[in-house]
Assembly symmetry: C2
Homo-oligomer: 222 residues x 2
Protein backbone atom coordinates (compact mmCIF):
# COMPACT_ATOMS: atom_id res chain seq x y z
CA UNK A 1 0.00 0.00 0.00
CA UNK A 2 1.44 3.34 -1.00
CA UNK A 3 1.39 6.63 0.85
CA UNK A 4 -1.47 7.96 -1.31
CA UNK A 5 -3.79 5.23 -0.09
CA UNK A 6 -3.08 6.10 3.54
CA UNK A 7 -3.59 9.79 2.66
CA UNK A 8 -7.00 8.99 1.14
CA UNK A 9 -8.07 6.95 4.17
CA UNK A 10 -6.81 9.72 6.48
CA UNK A 11 -8.95 12.29 4.67
CA UNK A 12 -12.09 10.16 4.96
CA UNK A 13 -11.38 9.47 8.66
CA UNK A 14 -10.67 13.15 9.32
CA UNK A 15 -13.98 14.23 7.77
CA UNK A 16 -15.83 11.48 9.68
CA UNK A 17 -14.21 12.62 12.95
CA UNK A 18 -15.15 16.26 12.19
CA UNK A 19 -18.80 15.27 11.63
CA UNK A 20 -18.90 13.20 14.86
CA UNK A 21 -17.21 16.03 16.77
CA UNK A 22 -19.86 18.54 15.60
CA UNK A 23 -22.70 16.06 16.18
CA UNK A 24 -21.45 15.47 19.71
CA UNK A 25 -21.06 19.14 20.65
CA UNK A 26 -24.22 20.39 18.93
CA UNK A 27 -26.65 17.52 19.54
CA UNK A 28 -25.45 16.11 22.89
CA UNK A 29 -23.58 19.03 24.50
CA UNK A 30 -25.94 21.88 23.60
CA UNK A 31 -23.96 23.69 20.92
CA UNK A 32 -20.90 25.91 20.78
CA UNK A 33 -20.70 29.66 21.22
CA UNK A 34 -17.62 31.60 22.31
CA UNK A 35 -19.80 34.54 23.51
CA UNK A 36 -22.46 32.55 25.32
CA UNK A 37 -23.64 33.23 28.86
CA UNK A 38 -23.62 29.43 29.31
CA UNK A 39 -20.07 28.42 30.28
CA UNK A 40 -20.52 24.93 28.82
CA UNK A 41 -21.29 26.37 25.37
CA UNK A 42 -18.05 28.35 25.57
CA UNK A 43 -16.19 25.20 26.53
CA UNK A 44 -17.59 23.26 23.56
CA UNK A 45 -15.69 25.56 21.20
CA UNK A 46 -12.49 24.06 22.63
CA UNK A 47 -12.60 20.41 21.41
CA UNK A 48 -14.07 21.40 18.03
CA UNK A 49 -11.39 24.01 17.24
CA UNK A 50 -8.51 21.96 18.64
CA UNK A 51 -9.53 19.05 16.42
CA UNK A 52 -10.14 21.17 13.31
CA UNK A 53 -6.94 23.13 13.89
CA UNK A 54 -3.94 21.21 15.20
CA UNK A 55 -5.22 17.77 14.20
CA UNK A 56 -7.23 18.02 10.97
CA UNK A 57 -5.52 21.02 9.33
CA UNK A 58 -2.16 20.02 10.85
CA UNK A 59 -2.53 16.44 9.60
CA UNK A 60 -3.65 17.50 6.12
CA UNK A 61 -0.72 19.95 5.96
CA UNK A 62 1.65 17.03 6.61
CA UNK A 63 -0.14 14.74 4.14
CA UNK A 64 -0.41 17.43 1.44
CA UNK A 65 3.36 17.84 1.33
CA UNK A 66 3.71 14.17 0.35
CA UNK A 67 0.84 13.67 -2.08
CA UNK A 68 -0.10 16.95 -3.81
CA UNK A 69 1.49 16.97 -7.25
CA UNK A 70 2.60 20.58 -7.76
CA UNK A 71 5.69 22.74 -7.93
CA UNK A 72 7.90 22.76 -4.84
CA UNK A 73 6.86 26.36 -4.15
CA UNK A 74 3.13 25.52 -4.37
CA UNK A 75 3.60 22.47 -2.13
CA UNK A 76 5.38 24.61 0.46
CA UNK A 77 2.65 27.27 0.26
CA UNK A 78 -0.11 24.69 0.87
CA UNK A 79 1.88 23.06 3.70
CA UNK A 80 2.60 26.39 5.38
CA UNK A 81 -0.91 27.87 4.99
CA UNK A 82 -2.69 24.75 6.27
CA UNK A 83 -0.40 24.75 9.30
CA UNK A 84 -1.10 28.47 9.83
CA UNK A 85 -4.87 27.92 9.73
CA UNK A 86 -4.38 25.01 12.13
CA UNK A 87 -2.35 27.15 14.50
CA UNK A 88 -4.85 30.05 14.51
CA UNK A 89 -7.82 27.71 15.12
CA UNK A 90 -5.80 26.03 17.88
CA UNK A 91 -5.02 29.34 19.61
CA UNK A 92 -8.72 30.33 19.60
CA UNK A 93 -9.54 26.83 20.89
CA UNK A 94 -7.10 27.25 23.80
CA UNK A 95 -8.60 30.70 24.52
CA UNK A 96 -12.05 29.05 24.77
CA UNK A 97 -10.77 26.67 27.47
CA UNK A 98 -9.29 29.58 29.48
CA UNK A 99 -12.47 31.65 29.08
CA UNK A 100 -14.52 28.68 30.34
CA UNK A 101 -12.30 28.31 33.42
CA UNK A 102 -12.53 32.07 34.08
CA UNK A 103 -16.34 31.93 33.87
CA UNK A 104 -16.48 29.11 36.44
CA UNK A 105 -13.70 30.49 38.65
CA UNK A 106 -11.77 27.25 38.04
CA UNK A 107 -7.95 27.20 37.91
CA UNK A 108 -6.12 26.73 34.60
CA UNK A 109 -3.44 24.26 33.62
CA UNK A 110 -3.98 21.68 36.36
CA UNK A 111 -4.14 18.45 34.33
CA UNK A 112 -1.81 16.44 32.14
CA UNK A 113 -4.11 17.31 29.23
CA UNK A 114 -3.47 21.02 29.69
CA UNK A 115 0.28 20.55 30.21
CA UNK A 116 0.71 18.47 27.09
CA UNK A 117 -1.64 20.68 25.10
CA UNK A 118 0.11 23.92 26.06
CA UNK A 119 3.51 22.38 25.35
CA UNK A 120 2.31 21.15 21.98
CA UNK A 121 0.76 24.41 20.77
CA UNK A 122 3.72 26.54 21.91
CA UNK A 123 6.21 24.24 20.17
CA UNK A 124 3.88 24.10 17.14
CA UNK A 125 4.05 27.90 16.90
CA UNK A 126 7.85 27.88 17.22
CA UNK A 127 8.12 25.11 14.62
CA UNK A 128 5.96 27.16 12.23
CA UNK A 129 8.11 30.28 12.64
CA UNK A 130 11.27 28.20 12.28
CA UNK A 131 9.95 26.56 9.09
CA UNK A 132 8.79 29.88 7.66
CA UNK A 133 12.17 31.56 8.17
CA UNK A 134 14.28 28.58 7.08
CA UNK A 135 12.35 27.07 4.19
CA UNK A 136 9.93 29.74 2.92
CA UNK A 137 11.79 33.04 3.02
CA UNK A 138 15.03 31.07 2.48
CA UNK A 139 16.71 32.53 5.53
CA UNK A 140 19.28 29.72 5.61
CA UNK A 141 21.98 28.46 3.26
CA UNK A 142 21.14 25.34 1.22
CA UNK A 143 23.47 23.13 3.26
CA UNK A 144 21.87 24.36 6.52
CA UNK A 145 18.39 23.73 5.10
CA UNK A 146 19.38 20.21 4.12
CA UNK A 147 20.72 19.58 7.58
CA UNK A 148 17.60 21.02 9.24
CA UNK A 149 15.06 19.16 7.07
CA UNK A 150 15.14 15.76 8.86
CA UNK A 151 14.80 17.58 12.22
CA UNK A 152 11.88 19.62 10.85
CA UNK A 153 10.16 16.38 9.78
CA UNK A 154 10.92 14.55 13.06
CA UNK A 155 9.79 17.51 15.21
CA UNK A 156 6.66 17.97 13.09
CA UNK A 157 5.65 14.33 13.41
CA UNK A 158 6.41 14.35 17.15
CA UNK A 159 4.19 17.43 17.60
CA UNK A 160 1.42 15.87 15.48
CA UNK A 161 1.52 12.68 17.61
CA UNK A 162 1.51 14.85 20.75
CA UNK A 163 -1.59 16.70 19.45
CA UNK A 164 -3.34 13.36 18.82
CA UNK A 165 -2.34 12.11 22.28
CA UNK A 166 -3.55 15.33 23.93
CA UNK A 167 -6.91 15.01 22.15
CA UNK A 168 -7.32 11.39 23.26
CA UNK A 169 -6.49 12.34 26.84
CA UNK A 170 -8.85 15.32 26.70
CA UNK A 171 -11.72 13.22 25.35
CA UNK A 172 -11.09 10.64 28.09
CA UNK A 173 -11.08 13.46 30.68
CA UNK A 174 -14.42 14.85 29.44
CA UNK A 175 -15.90 11.35 29.19
CA UNK A 176 -14.86 10.54 32.77
CA UNK A 177 -16.29 13.84 34.08
CA UNK A 178 -19.60 13.18 32.34
CA UNK A 179 -19.69 9.63 33.72
CA UNK A 180 -18.69 10.67 37.26
CA UNK A 181 -21.50 13.24 37.32
CA UNK A 182 -24.01 10.71 35.96
CA UNK A 183 -24.60 12.63 32.70
CA UNK A 184 -23.72 9.64 30.53
CA UNK A 185 -24.00 5.90 31.18
CA UNK A 186 -21.43 3.18 30.50
CA UNK A 187 -22.75 2.09 27.11
CA UNK A 188 -25.14 4.97 26.36
CA UNK A 189 -25.28 6.66 22.95
CA UNK A 190 -23.11 9.60 23.96
CA UNK A 191 -20.53 7.34 25.65
CA UNK A 192 -20.23 5.25 22.48
CA UNK A 193 -20.05 8.39 20.34
CA UNK A 194 -17.13 9.78 22.39
CA UNK A 195 -15.29 6.45 22.30
CA UNK A 196 -15.75 6.00 18.55
CA UNK A 197 -14.75 9.63 17.93
CA UNK A 198 -11.54 9.00 19.93
CA UNK A 199 -10.85 5.83 17.94
CA UNK A 200 -11.39 7.54 14.58
CA UNK A 201 -9.07 10.41 15.57
CA UNK A 202 -6.43 7.83 16.54
CA UNK A 203 -6.80 6.01 13.20
CA UNK A 204 -6.59 9.39 11.39
CA UNK A 205 -3.30 9.98 13.22
CA UNK A 206 -1.92 6.55 12.31
CA UNK A 207 -2.86 6.93 8.61
CA UNK A 208 -1.28 10.40 8.52
CA UNK A 209 2.01 9.14 9.99
CA UNK A 210 1.94 6.08 7.69
CA UNK A 211 1.50 8.41 4.68
CA UNK A 212 4.83 10.02 5.57
CA UNK A 213 6.53 6.67 6.25
CA UNK A 214 5.34 5.01 3.03
CA UNK A 215 5.77 8.12 0.84
CA UNK A 216 9.29 9.27 1.72
CA UNK A 217 9.53 11.86 -1.07
CA UNK A 218 7.18 14.58 -2.24
CA UNK A 219 6.12 14.25 -5.89
CA UNK A 220 7.24 17.27 -7.88
CA UNK A 221 6.51 18.51 -11.38
CA UNK A 222 9.55 20.79 -11.42
Amino acid sequence: MAGQHFAGIALVLGIAAGILMLLWNIHFRGGLNLDSENALHIFNVHPVLMFLGLIFCGGEAIVAYRVVRATKRAQKAIHMLLHLVGLVLGVVGVYAAFKYHRKLGEPDMYSLHSWLGMGTICLYGLQWIFGFVTFWIQGARTITKERFLPWHVAAGLTLFIMAIGTAEIGLMEKYTFLKSYGVISHFGREALLINFLSLIILLFGICTVYTVIFQPHAPTIL
Copy 2:
Protein backbone atom coordinates in the same frame (compact mmCIF):
# COMPACT_ATOMS: atom_id res chain seq x y z
CA MET B 1 23.13 12.32 19.87
CA ALA B 2 23.32 8.61 19.21
CA GLY B 3 20.81 5.91 19.99
CA GLN B 4 22.77 4.78 23.05
CA HIS B 5 22.28 8.14 24.73
CA PHE B 6 18.52 7.95 24.26
CA ALA B 7 18.61 4.37 25.55
CA GLY B 8 20.41 5.51 28.71
CA ILE B 9 17.96 8.35 29.30
CA ALA B 10 15.05 5.96 28.68
CA LEU B 11 16.37 3.56 31.34
CA VAL B 12 16.69 6.33 33.93
CA LEU B 13 13.19 7.65 33.09
CA GLY B 14 11.73 4.14 33.20
CA ILE B 15 13.17 3.47 36.66
CA ALA B 16 11.98 6.91 37.87
CA ALA B 17 8.47 6.19 36.54
CA GLY B 18 8.47 2.78 38.25
CA ILE B 19 9.40 4.36 41.58
CA LEU B 20 6.71 7.07 41.23
CA MET B 21 4.15 4.43 40.20
CA LEU B 22 4.88 2.34 43.33
CA LEU B 23 4.96 5.44 45.55
CA TRP B 24 1.59 6.51 44.18
CA ASN B 25 -0.12 3.15 44.62
CA ILE B 26 1.44 2.25 47.99
CA HIS B 27 1.56 5.64 49.72
CA PHE B 28 -1.46 7.46 48.24
CA ARG B 29 -3.75 4.62 47.04
CA GLY B 30 -3.38 2.24 49.98
CA GLY B 31 -1.23 -0.51 48.46
CA LEU B 32 -1.70 -3.31 45.95
CA ASN B 33 -2.93 -6.82 46.58
CA LEU B 34 -4.58 -9.09 44.03
CA ASP B 35 -6.26 -11.15 46.77
CA SER B 36 -7.48 -8.28 48.92
CA GLU B 37 -11.03 -7.90 50.22
CA ASN B 38 -10.63 -4.19 49.38
CA ALA B 39 -11.55 -3.77 45.68
CA LEU B 40 -9.36 -0.68 45.38
CA HIS B 41 -6.26 -2.64 46.44
CA ILE B 42 -7.03 -5.19 43.71
CA PHE B 43 -7.38 -2.36 41.20
CA ASN B 44 -4.01 -0.88 42.15
CA VAL B 45 -2.28 -3.99 40.81
CA HIS B 46 -3.50 -2.94 37.35
CA PRO B 47 -1.54 0.30 36.66
CA VAL B 48 1.63 -1.09 38.32
CA LEU B 49 1.73 -4.31 36.27
CA MET B 50 0.65 -2.67 33.00
CA PHE B 51 3.48 -0.17 33.38
CA LEU B 52 6.10 -2.73 34.44
CA GLY B 53 4.96 -5.16 31.73
CA LEU B 54 3.96 -3.69 28.39
CA ILE B 55 5.73 -0.36 28.90
CA PHE B 56 8.93 -0.87 30.92
CA CYS B 57 9.80 -4.45 29.89
CA GLY B 58 8.38 -3.89 26.39
CA GLY B 59 10.38 -0.67 25.98
CA GLU B 60 13.59 -2.21 27.32
CA ALA B 61 13.09 -5.20 24.98
CA ILE B 62 12.97 -2.77 22.04
CA VAL B 63 15.96 -0.77 23.28
CA ALA B 64 18.03 -3.86 24.13
CA TYR B 65 17.87 -5.08 20.54
CA ARG B 66 19.59 -1.88 19.39
CA VAL B 67 22.20 -1.31 22.10
CA VAL B 68 23.22 -4.62 23.72
CA ARG B 69 26.50 -5.76 22.17
CA ALA B 70 26.17 -9.53 21.88
CA THR B 71 25.72 -12.31 19.33
CA LYS B 72 22.59 -12.12 17.17
CA ARG B 73 21.20 -15.16 18.99
CA ALA B 74 21.77 -13.60 22.43
CA GLN B 75 20.21 -10.29 21.31
CA LYS B 76 17.15 -12.14 20.06
CA ALA B 77 16.91 -14.14 23.29
CA ILE B 78 17.01 -10.97 25.43
CA HIS B 79 14.49 -9.21 23.14
CA MET B 80 12.12 -12.18 23.16
CA LEU B 81 12.34 -12.93 26.89
CA LEU B 82 11.84 -9.29 27.98
CA HIS B 83 8.78 -9.11 25.72
CA LEU B 84 7.51 -12.38 27.21
CA VAL B 85 7.90 -11.09 30.78
CA GLY B 86 6.15 -7.88 29.66
CA LEU B 87 3.28 -9.84 28.15
CA VAL B 88 2.78 -12.06 31.22
CA LEU B 89 2.83 -9.07 33.61
CA GLY B 90 0.38 -7.29 31.26
CA VAL B 91 -2.04 -10.22 31.22
CA VAL B 92 -2.06 -10.38 35.05
CA GLY B 93 -2.54 -6.59 35.07
CA VAL B 94 -5.59 -6.86 32.78
CA TYR B 95 -6.95 -9.66 34.99
CA ALA B 96 -6.69 -7.31 38.01
CA ALA B 97 -8.89 -4.72 36.24
CA PHE B 98 -11.52 -7.36 35.41
CA LYS B 99 -11.43 -8.74 38.99
CA TYR B 100 -11.93 -5.20 40.32
CA HIS B 101 -14.97 -4.65 38.09
CA ARG B 102 -16.40 -8.04 39.12
CA LYS B 103 -15.98 -7.13 42.79
CA LEU B 104 -17.88 -3.85 42.32
CA GLY B 105 -20.47 -5.28 39.91
CA GLU B 106 -19.26 -2.75 37.30
CA PRO B 107 -19.31 -3.54 33.58
CA ASP B 108 -16.06 -4.21 31.70
CA MET B 109 -14.70 -2.66 28.54
CA TYR B 110 -16.78 0.52 28.48
CA SER B 111 -14.13 3.17 27.95
CA LEU B 112 -11.66 4.11 25.26
CA HIS B 113 -8.89 3.14 27.69
CA SER B 114 -10.18 -0.43 27.86
CA TRP B 115 -10.76 -0.67 24.10
CA LEU B 116 -7.27 0.55 23.25
CA GLY B 117 -5.70 -1.50 26.02
CA MET B 118 -7.41 -4.75 25.04
CA GLY B 119 -6.55 -4.16 21.38
CA THR B 120 -2.93 -3.46 22.29
CA ILE B 121 -2.38 -6.51 24.52
CA CYS B 122 -4.09 -8.92 22.09
CA LEU B 123 -2.02 -7.65 19.16
CA TYR B 124 1.08 -7.68 21.41
CA GLY B 125 0.48 -11.39 22.07
CA LEU B 126 0.01 -12.11 18.36
CA GLN B 127 3.11 -10.11 17.50
CA TRP B 128 5.11 -12.12 20.04
CA ILE B 129 3.94 -15.46 18.64
CA PHE B 130 4.59 -14.24 15.10
CA GLY B 131 8.10 -13.09 16.03
CA PHE B 132 8.84 -16.32 17.88
CA VAL B 133 7.82 -18.53 14.94
CA THR B 134 9.39 -16.37 12.24
CA PHE B 135 12.65 -15.17 13.78
CA TRP B 136 13.43 -17.47 16.73
CA ILE B 137 12.53 -20.99 15.64
CA GLN B 138 13.33 -19.94 12.06
CA GLY B 139 9.95 -21.01 10.72
CA ALA B 140 10.33 -18.87 7.60
CA ARG B 141 12.76 -18.77 4.68
CA THR B 142 15.46 -16.08 4.80
CA ILE B 143 13.82 -14.02 2.04
CA THR B 144 10.48 -14.12 3.87
CA LYS B 145 12.18 -13.10 7.13
CA GLU B 146 13.85 -10.17 5.40
CA ARG B 147 10.51 -9.09 3.97
CA PHE B 148 8.77 -9.42 7.35
CA LEU B 149 11.41 -7.60 9.39
CA PRO B 150 10.39 -3.98 8.60
CA TRP B 151 6.75 -4.91 9.34
CA HIS B 152 7.79 -6.51 12.63
CA VAL B 153 9.61 -3.31 13.60
CA ALA B 154 6.76 -1.01 12.46
CA ALA B 155 4.10 -3.10 14.20
CA GLY B 156 6.20 -3.34 17.36
CA LEU B 157 6.73 0.41 17.55
CA THR B 158 3.03 1.05 16.81
CA LEU B 159 2.05 -1.31 19.66
CA PHE B 160 4.58 0.31 22.00
CA ILE B 161 3.19 3.79 21.22
CA MET B 162 -0.36 2.41 21.70
CA ALA B 163 0.68 1.05 25.11
CA ILE B 164 2.08 4.45 26.10
CA GLY B 165 -1.08 6.18 24.83
CA THR B 166 -3.32 3.75 26.70
CA ALA B 167 -1.36 4.38 29.92
CA GLU B 168 -1.64 8.16 29.52
CA ILE B 169 -5.39 7.87 28.91
CA GLY B 170 -5.77 5.50 31.87
CA LEU B 171 -3.87 7.82 34.22
CA MET B 172 -6.02 10.75 33.03
CA GLU B 173 -9.16 8.63 33.62
CA LYS B 174 -8.08 7.76 37.19
CA TYR B 175 -7.02 11.36 37.87
CA THR B 176 -10.39 12.70 36.67
CA PHE B 177 -12.30 10.15 38.77
CA LEU B 178 -10.31 11.09 41.87
CA LYS B 179 -10.88 14.79 41.18
CA SER B 180 -14.60 14.37 40.43
CA TYR B 181 -15.08 12.54 43.72
CA GLY B 182 -13.11 15.17 45.61
CA VAL B 183 -10.31 12.75 46.62
CA ILE B 184 -7.59 14.94 45.11
CA SER B 185 -7.41 18.69 44.57
CA HIS B 186 -6.28 20.58 41.46
CA PHE B 187 -2.70 21.15 42.51
CA GLY B 188 -2.49 18.75 45.47
CA ARG B 189 0.50 16.45 46.01
CA GLU B 190 -1.21 13.40 44.53
CA ALA B 191 -2.49 15.37 41.51
CA LEU B 192 1.03 16.60 40.78
CA LEU B 193 2.45 13.10 41.29
CA ILE B 194 0.01 11.59 38.75
CA ASN B 195 0.72 14.36 36.21
CA PHE B 196 4.50 14.05 36.57
CA LEU B 197 4.27 10.25 36.40
CA SER B 198 2.32 10.61 33.13
CA LEU B 199 4.90 13.04 31.76
CA ILE B 200 7.84 10.79 32.68
CA ILE B 201 6.15 7.77 31.03
CA LEU B 202 5.63 9.87 27.90
CA LEU B 203 9.29 10.95 27.86
CA PHE B 204 10.33 7.31 28.40
CA GLY B 205 8.26 6.43 25.31
CA ILE B 206 9.82 9.21 23.23
CA CYS B 207 13.40 8.23 24.23
CA THR B 208 12.67 4.57 23.44
CA VAL B 209 11.35 5.38 19.96
CA TYR B 210 14.24 7.80 19.34
CA THR B 211 16.70 5.03 20.29
CA VAL B 212 15.33 2.98 17.38
CA ILE B 213 15.31 5.95 14.99
CA PHE B 214 18.85 7.07 15.80
CA GLN B 215 20.31 3.55 16.06
CA PRO B 216 19.02 1.90 12.87
CA HIS B 217 21.17 -1.24 13.19
CA ALA B 218 21.85 -3.58 16.09
CA PRO B 219 25.53 -3.84 17.06
CA THR B 220 26.76 -7.38 16.59
CA ILE B 221 29.92 -9.18 17.59
CA LEU B 222 29.25 -12.06 15.17
